[in-house]
Symmetry: C2
Subunit: 571 residues, 2 copies
């Protein structure tokens, strides 16, 4: 992940900035600030891309301290702030000269959606830097929204959720309950039919059933996941167990019946939406990158609220197989949709023009609807936030990556750890304690579901089998103590749920958290992927290779030829 | 089919009229005639539904001579004609006070598409009745279109093909070459990028490749099939063998790789479009009813142009399994999409409001986009046109239904036949000659592909096996001569192409031209359709039942229970 963060912090951020300057999406703010009547560039949600880039810049500035990143945050955020109206309203597409009135198209206008992303960027900035002019602008915008959409105001919602988690997060940063109350209003209003659904139907917007009454995620996947994230935030802050429990049920049913092996969500191209239960075709998987990001947001919130290794498991699966697979190695070309199988080569992306988002299944530098690149950027820049959690009892390592960790437990006990691992290429994770403990505390290490029953832990007395979903070591640790977790990452065959029609008689090959991928280029010339079949009872094995990457290439015997070498799908 | 035509001529036509009056779609014409500024009812292609109803009324009036049908044709067509502008233009949505200018949105405005359906209705009227005020109005509209879109005019096309076959048909009725030339211009312009494709991409409109250069149908299925129909018309009239050959190739590749067992075309909900080769999921089959109608239009034209039992085979398959399955028994509720499998019950249609076209997979009385009911109506009313073809050599029976046939061969030889059959419930077809022949001629009977090698013919000397795709009897027939064809309609198992991922390890049960359907209501309580499996080597058999319908119910042994009884999917 460190390499990924480096590429993200340099190449991806510059790439996004370059495209949005060139297409005039940032220029929209200059035009709005000037008050001149002129057409807006890009789609109605273009503002949000700038905000997601600002969020990525905010996280990245704190992570790397890079000067260009910090300066770019300041420059771009200043242009945004300049476009704010005196009453706090801020959107380059509505309410200006020659434009549609504010809030005249809540279904499709994305005004509150854009505002939500601005607020999320401000939350990132406040957490990493403190209040500055940009954060102050976000507060004015949030106040304006509370004034406008509070009780007695416009008692409706935005077609695209996002304002809900944003306002709840802003409450966490500021302590101002008004924002939390407004977030709750938006969550509670959804499902009461305040949107004119039109041909898409109310399910598309999750306006068909109230959040606390739904038992599965449905409709547009990103919308559904952002909304559920906001509902968890509200439920946690208010101790609303019913609401939290409803979202947990939705998560559970969605993961059990409507989620790809990769963690991908939203199987339908039509409406970018969840399909019916078990409607999970590989070739037409939509599995939008942004739905992966949103799924991680939701699972992270449920993990913090409830604990439960299943949430961290899904985060891991989705990070490796949906989010990390989106950008190419250079960080400048992205998958928008993430099919699990390609029957035709697809259309080469355009280099100089935005590409259609889903017409091809190829990576593209930029899209007409370009939500994914900036969403990947803000996620990768803030990855360190997903590594570990803490409690009075101690520290829980949730994700494995080489890193240093320095934190203070609620009672003031300081914990410093370093993690050494080549995960996921190796299943060996060594955690070294870097400071003497003042008291006994518990180091908890997640054992992913695929490793359960086969993991071992070594605390200096040899490998011991680990039972359950976490390996726990309670000790008055001394600096230099090492805890080693070994996870079995040998490639394995995974069988699908027999209720998935599209996967009848199919298998997947996985290794550790990775879902592997057979690629045409690895096959004998003239061999079609479709012709691959695996003899009953065949099992994959590792081929130790000399190449730097990947250190082990799983191989498997097929009926067709001697071996194929499935590679992780993000190469 | 006679029962179907009766239901269509009474219930369906009244049903369509009632809905379109109620929703104000016919009223649009009164408003346009009055010149008053007022909003249009319905979608931008609502005019076309009135035209398709007029076409159905025209065919039905000739078929049944029903007084209400004739009077309704006259009433509704008079309201249409009253809305025509002095220069021949006729559309209730554009060019009037407060409306967008004419031809300002060729991509989505559907002006020429609507005009095409008006002209098709006029062609039906001219063929069954001769020139009247409505036909005259169509000629003025066609002249206006030629003036406006001819060389030096607007050298573009409509986003939705339909004007192409309509103008070519109008040429056939009138002999005025101008209409054929204009049809050719529209066909030749497509694929040259004159449409602003936007997010759908040019393939959606078939504007990606020129018709004569394409090798498969792609994009929006109805658009693709109407366009190909028009291209055949132009090719045939002009002797353009290259163009005809290109469409034949497209038909062949599309049927081989992109067509459901039912004849359904257009697998994707997204864009109502053809998918990639072998992308044929059962549960998410779009298989729009109108694409079935359009496929029959295309196959019928290729049959007339080239002969070839494969075209009549596909017409039969599509008529029975897509078009006939759309309306319910009462003729007042319709499938818009025709999935081959349902994993969830779907949403009950609204009785008093138009339903979303594809959100549920249930029949509905009317839709927001209600192209299918009127398309079914005009097809069923004109079914007799598909029964037989003729040539100098004699008469070719292409479809089997109880009917009387009275025609004159090109040299003046009169042929009168009666066909007696209970097809498709029985495979026995008896053709009785009703008039002495003046010369030897050939009666040709199509043997459907599923019957080939197993059909027998009896010309009075006992059953003889039939080889090939047609059974031919050449004779100087005498009145009372009977020719009997026996087709084996025993239920049979059909295996899918192994390249169709969605059908891996699945089979279909067919009987004659019918694709059968296992329905939950026929299973033991609590049995889920998904759990049905058939032992290797099991074969279906007939259960002779006492009930009037269907006379034989195929049964098959499954692993789950003793038997299930698949029924034709249009019950």
């Amino acid at each position: 992940w460190a390499d990924r963060q480096e590429v993200n912090g340099t190449a991806t951020l510059r790439h996004c900035l370059k495209w949005m300057e060139r297409l005039g999406w940032i220029g929209n703010f200059d035009r709005a600030a000037s008050g001149v009547e002129a057409p807006s560039a890009g789609r109605e949600f273009a503002d949000s891309e700038i905000y997601k880039l600002l969020e990525a810049l905010a996280w990245e500035s704190a992570r790397s301290g890079d000067e260009w990143v910090e300066r770019t945050f300041q420059d771009v955020s200043a242009r945004v702030v300049a476009a704010q109206q005196p009453d706090g309203y801020l959107n380059t597409r509505f309410g200006g000269p020659g434009q549609q009135p504010r809030y005249s198209d809540l279904e499709w206008g994305h005004e509150l959606y854009c505002a939500g992303h601005l607020i999320q960027a401000a939350v990132a900035r406040a957490r990493t830097h403190g209040v500055d002019a940009f954060v102050a602008a976000a507060l004015r915008l949030a106040d304006h929204i509370c004034d406008t959409f509070g009780p007695g105001g416009i008692e409706r919602i935005d077609g695209h959720p996002e304002i809900e988690p944003a306002l709840a997060e802003l409450f966490r940063v500021t302590g101002n309950r008004r924002y939390l109350d407004q977030a709750r209003l938006f969550v509670e209003r959804r499902g009461t039919g305040t949107l004119n659904a039109g041909e898409t139907g109310p399910e598309y917007f999750q306006d068909d059933v109230r959040v606390r009454e739904a038992d599965v995620l449905r409709g547009h996947a990103v919308r559904a996941l952002y909304l559920a994230s906001g509902a968890v935030d509200v439920a946690v802050e208010d101790g609303d167990h019913d609401l939290l429990s409803a979202v947990e049920t939705q998560w559970r049913n969605t993961v059990a019946h409507r989620t790809y092996l990769t963690g991908g969500m939203g199987s339908r191209h039509e409406g970018e939406s969840f399909g019916d239960d078990f409607e999970l075709p590989s070739d037409r998987a939509y599995s939008e990158t942004c739905a992966g990001v949103a799924s991680i947001m939701l699972s992270h919130r449920l993990l913090l609220a409830e604990g439960g290794a299943q949430y961290a498991d899904l985060i891991e699966r989705t990070l490796f197989n949906v989010v990390a697979t989106s950008p190419d190695a250079s960080g400048t070309s992205f998958f928008y949709v993430n099919p699990l199988q390609r029957n035709s080569p697809g259309i080469e992306a355009m280099v100089d023009e935005p590409s259609p988002r889903a017409a091809s299944s190829q990576r593209a530098p930029w899209f007409d609807v370009s939500c994914c690149p900036t969403n990947v950027a803000r996620t990768v820049a803030s990855l360190s936030g997903y590594i570990a959690t803490k409690s009075t009892a101690g520290v829980q390592l949730q994700q494995y990556a080489a890193c240093a960790l320095d934190t203070v437990l609620p009672d003031g006990e300081r914990v410093r750890l370093s993690v050494n691992t080549d995960y996921p290429w190796s299943g060996d994770i060594a955690v070294t304690v870097e400071a003497d403990a003042g008291r006994e505390w518990t180091l908890s290490l997640r054992v992913p579901s695929w490793a359960r029953g086969r993991a071992t832990l070594d605390t200096g007395m040899g490998d011991q089998p680990v039972l359950g979903a976490t390996a726990e070591v309670s000790s008055r640790f001394r600096s230099g103590d090492v805890v080693r977790l070994s996870l079995p990452i040998e490639p394995r065959i995974t069988l699908p749920d027999p209720r998935i029609d599209a996967l009848r008689n199919s298998v997947a090959v996985e290794a550790g958290p990775l879902v592997l991928c057979a690629e045409s280029v690895d096959l004998a010339p003239g061999t079609h992927l479709r012709s691959l079949s695996i003899p009953a009872g065949a099992s994959p094995s590792r081929e130790e290779g000399a190449s730097r990457w990947p250190p082990c290439r799983p191989k498997i015997r097929t009926r067709h030829g001697p071996t194929v070498l499935p590679l992780p799908s993000h190469r």
